[in-house]
């Protein structure tokens, strides 16, 4: 905990510096660049790549969250129960699909650009959220559910006031997993011409410029770690409030 | 004979067990009773060195337990705990044979011992040998737990709240079984419980623990009739003391010649049962039987006389 208190601001500052003032890092990355070659990626600003990267992830994850939670609500109602075994099969098998393969398979269908990346992130992002939301909605404390019925809440009221709020922490864990996978997969999205931070790493790999690889890798890694950490904190906060 | 000599366990500055000394006779049941935090479980766990004593020692048949490696010591001492602690991935036979296996008995010896113990606990070996613990009822699991503790014919059997997880009816059965088997095998048993009723009905001697100290160590009748401290009196329950005392005495002791009407009582019934029957039927006396034939009667007056015997 104490390490986190010091480390977190340091990492945030490092990330901001890497994104906003990449030139500061010339002395550090220079030894990794090929002799006489460029040290800092210049073809696009780190800020615009970061925003585009985060934008794709946010859009895909938001859509995945909405759709996955709605589907989870549907299959946990009595009317949708017939779909539950099927949905379990799809989530189990779907999650064995490698994210990279999903991305690659989206290209023949959708062409190059942000499109296939968005679709792949969305499809792949559905699974962990759906899985966790279903788990949460089917494992609600029975006494609480009985009490909710007992005090005369309608089905809608029970869903909105009791079930969804109680299912929130576990669902959030699914959203976190989904976002972390999306951040990573979006990086690979630059191989299908989506504008993401992966562009910097790929450029480094193609030109044997390790400085680029380091620069891109550090920024992406820091984003992932910090966003993951923030979501973990949020979950802990919500759980703490519910645990009483 | 087990001698516990000035044994003490200190956690930080607290004495969980404070200079307890007691002697347990071979072939008897000693029940250690106390509230939670009284140090009773710690005392028991120091005997097989699951806890190391801070000072003092335990001698089994004259040998100090500190001279033996703990795991070798434990193989000679049976140990049964609340919630049975059976290995869920092993069959009943493997569970019971666990200690003999550690002691490297031969396969045949182990199998014979397993069947012998299952029969002793009235479980058909052919039926139960190959079952898994999850396929047994709570009472059966508990019996297998005790059978496992007895498997290597240990010098001493330690039991920590062995009946704690059972419901009341099965618990009474299990207590009777234990008593029966102990008589048959002549085992030495030390049992920990928080339930004074259990202590009185099972123990040849009862040790009452309070705040890490042994406050009284005596036969049950003496615990009831002459509690050493208010705490002991409280645990026995002032109001029910005469009834508890009566439950220790059998009808056989007060049979007198004569006749009476009403439903007959076997002589093995306790005076508490006899009193209850008298009050319920409204009779002053009831016939008593031995082996099915009437041999005399029990009178309310005689029962009343025994209830006040300590004065």
């Amino acid at each position: 905990m104490k390490i986190g208190l010091i480390l977190r601001p340091v990492l945030i500052a490092l990330l901001l510096a890497l994104v906003l003032r990449p030139d500061w890092f010339v002395p550090i990355f220079a030894p990794f660049a090929p002799a006489g070659g460029p040290v800092i990626y210049q073809r696009a600003s780190m800020l615009s790549l970061s925003l585009s990267h985060l934008g794709i992830v946010a859009l895909a994850s938001a859509a995945a969250t909405i759709v996955a939670v709605m589907l989870a609500i549907l299959v946990t109602r009595p009317a949708g129960a017939a779909f539950r075994p099927l949905s379990r099969t799809i989530t189990n098998m779907g999650q064995t699909f490698p994210p990279v393969a999903v991305l690659a398979l989206a290209v023949p269908a959708l062409g190059f650009g942000a499109g296939p990346t968005l679709v792949a992130l969305f499809l792949y992002g559905l699974l962990p959220i759906f899985e966790n939301a279903v788990t949460a909605l089917t494992n609600l404390p029975r006494a609480t559910m009985e009490a909710a019925r007992g005090i005369g809440l309608s089905r809608w009221q029970r869903l909105l006031r009791v079930e969804l709020p109680l299912a929130l922490p576990v669902t959030l864990t699914g959203i976190r997993l989904s976002i972390v996978i999306a951040l990573g997969t979006a990086t690979i999205g630059s191989t299908v011409a989506a504008r993401t931070l992966g562009e910097v790493i790929i450029a480094g790999l193609l030109t044997n410029n390790t400085a680029y690889v380091l620069q891109g890798g550090l920024i992406v890694g820091l984003f992932a770690v910090l966003i993951y950490d923030a979501l973990v904190q949020l979950e802990a906060y919500l759980l703490g409030r519910m645990g009483g | 004979m087990i001698e516990i000599d000035q044994i003490t366990k200190t956690y930080g500055t607290v004495n969980a067990v404070d200079a307890v000394s007691m002697t347990v006779e071979t072939g008897s049941i000693t029940v250690i009773v106390g509230t939670s935090g009284s140090g009773k479980t710690t005392l028991l766990r120091m005997i097989n060195r699951l806890e190391e004593p801070t000072s003092g020692e335990v001698r089994i048949n004259g040998t100090s337990t500190s001279t033996v490696k703990p795991h070798l010591l434990r193989r000679r001492i049976g140990y049964a705990i609340q919630g049975h602690g059976l290995f869920p991935h092993h069959t009943v036979a493997r569970n019971i044979g666990a200690v003999p296996e550690l002691l490297k008995w031969s396969r045949d010896e182990i199998n014979a011992r397993v069947d012998e113990l299952l029969a002793l606990f009235s479980m058909d070996p052919a039926e139960f040998r190959d079952r898994f613990p999850a396929e047994l009822s709570g009472g059966q699991q508990q019996r297998v737990g005790v059978a496992r503790a007895l498997a290597s014919r240990p010098d001493l059997l330690l039991m920590d709240e062995p009946f704690g997880a059972l419901d009341p009816i099965i618990r009474t059965r299990a207590q009777e079984d234990l008593r029966h088997i102990q008589r048959k095998l002549g085992s030495t048993i030390m049992l920990v419980t928080h339930d004074m009723e259990e202590a009185i009905s099972l123990g040849d001697r009862v040790a009452v623990m309070d705040g890490g100290k042994l406050v009284q160590y005596a036969p049950p009748a003496e615990i009831i009739s002459r509690p050493a401290t208010d705490f002991v009196a409280n645990m026995v329950g002032d109001v029910e003391r005469p009834l508890r005392l009566l439950s220790l005495i059998s009808v056989a002791e007060i049979i007198e010649p004569g006749e009476a009407d009403g439903e007959a009582l076997p002589e093995t019934a306790s005076l508490r049962d006899a009193l209850s029957a008298c009050l319920w039927t409204g009779c002053d006396a009831l016939p008593a039987t031995r082996g099915g034939t009437v041999v005399g009667r029990v009178t309310l007056k005689a029962i009343r006389a025994r209830a006040g015997a300590h004065e």
Partner: protein
């Protein structure tokens, strides 16, 4: 009303609707060469009626058989029927389409085919799930499906399809990369197990070590794969250049070594985490009893904790294996080999068939590994669960 409802399978109804819609989408694509985009052709136009009528009919009958809720075996049969219809359409029409087109023409399955394929596979999975086959039966089914797949591919029925033409022109490369892929996935799994099991056992005994290890490993897991693979390059490049003899055993910034190390680092969290969780899953009373009866710490570990934790520990290996089969694709970007080589070459050349040649086997491999490992986990879980 109720009578009809109880006899219709809701998922079957969904499959039927989606399946009919998919029939309206292009079933195959005919392109002038392997780079340009082709024209889509719907299922009933891919060939003459002698071929399309039975094929489309089989698909529709298969969908209809999937509607019956009460008779699971019929639904399973429907899936097989539908898949046969798809295979028939594909294998019969491809040569006909090619004869009408130019020398470099390519014919490949299109969106309609893929959707129907997925729908029938789901129908099959849904029916199988209802039959609840035991672990052995599932393994047998898996091998039956794989054998059918190999048989169809080997028979040359589909050899006119562009993916298989791509395959036949790189047959040797395909099997080299296949081996490389397996080497990466299983090699890193073995290394992770070798390091992870002892580390997990140590963590189980020392809470302090556990508190330090698990957060570091989950931190590693968070780093996006491309960044991780990329960051391995300078590190291993440095090791290769400075440590004497390192290059001789193949440690260098590019190639197999950085890919292997990256996969290994990703693998450690599931292995260590599940080992710790598995060992901690022993019921406390059983552990207390084991101690009380005089088992040494080693005996407790080998006879009680490990056997009881085995399903959870194996689940960790399952996660790692499936994850590594997927992640090994990225090795293709840093010259580490594997199916990723085809995927990224294909993406570079905008050659769809090449992408599929890399992606499809990866998916099949991952699914196979997942099903096999699930079977294994279930076999180790055969002890009845605690009823209490």
């Amino acid at each position: 009303m109720m009578g009809i409802r109880t006899h219709l399978s809701p998922p079957g109804l969904l499959f039927a609707i989606l399946g009919l819609a998919a029939l309206l989408a292009p079933f195959m694509t005919l392109a002038a060469n392997r780079i340009v985009a082709g024209d889509g052709i719907v299922a009933w136009r891919v060939a003459g009626p002698a071929i399309t009528v039975p094929g489309v009919a089989a698909v529709m009958i298969g969908l209809a058989m999937g509607l019956v809720a009460t008779w699971t075996r019929l639904r399973l049969l429907g899936a097989v029927f539908g898949l046969a219809g798809l295979l028939w359409l594909l294998s019969r029409s491809a040569p006909i389409l090619l004869t009408q087109a130019g020398e470099y023409a390519r014919v490949s399955p299109a969106a309609g085919f893929w959707c129907l394929l997925v729908i029938f596979m789901l129908l099959m999975a849904d029916a199988l799930a209802a039959l609840k086959p035991g672990p052995f039966m599932r393994a047998v089914l898996l091998f039956a499906v794989l054998a059918a797949l190999v048989l169809v591919l080997h028979s040359g029925l589909l050899s006119d399809l562009s993916v298989l033409q791509e395959f036949s022109s790189r047959r040797d490369a395909f099997f080299t990369e296949f081996q490389r892929h397996l080497g990466l996935a299983f090699g890193s799994l073995a290394a992770a197990a070798l390091i992870g099991f002892p580390l997990g056992i140590l963590c189980h005994h020392r809470a302090g070590l556990q508190g330090a290890t698990l957060p570091v490993l989950s931190f590693l897991q968070t780093i996006p794969s491309l960044a991780m693979f990329g960051l391995m390059i300078p590190i291993l490049g440095w090791v290769g250049n400075t440590v004497p003899g390192a290059q001789a055993i193949g440690i260098a910034g590019i190639g197999f070594a950085p890919a292997f190390l990256a996969l290994l680092l990703y693998s450690l969290l599931p292995v260590v985490g599940n080992t710790v969780a598995g060992l901690a899953a022993t019921p406390p009373a059983a552990l207390e009893a084991a101690r009380g009866m005089g088992m040494t710490p080693r005996q407790r570990l080998l006879r009680v904790e490990l056997p009881l934790g085995l399903p959870i520990i194996l689940t960790g290996l399952r996660i790692v294996l499936v994850q590594n089969i997927g992640l090994a694709v990225i090795a293709g970007l840093i010259g580490g080999g594997g199916f990723g080589t085809f995927v990224f070459q294909g993406l570079n050349q905008t050659a769809t068939d090449l992408i599929l040649l890399g992606a499809l086997p990866t998916v099949v491999l991952a699914l196979t590994a997942a099903i096999l490992m699930d079977t294994l986990v279930e076999l180790t879980r055969r002890i009845p669960e605690e009823t209490a």
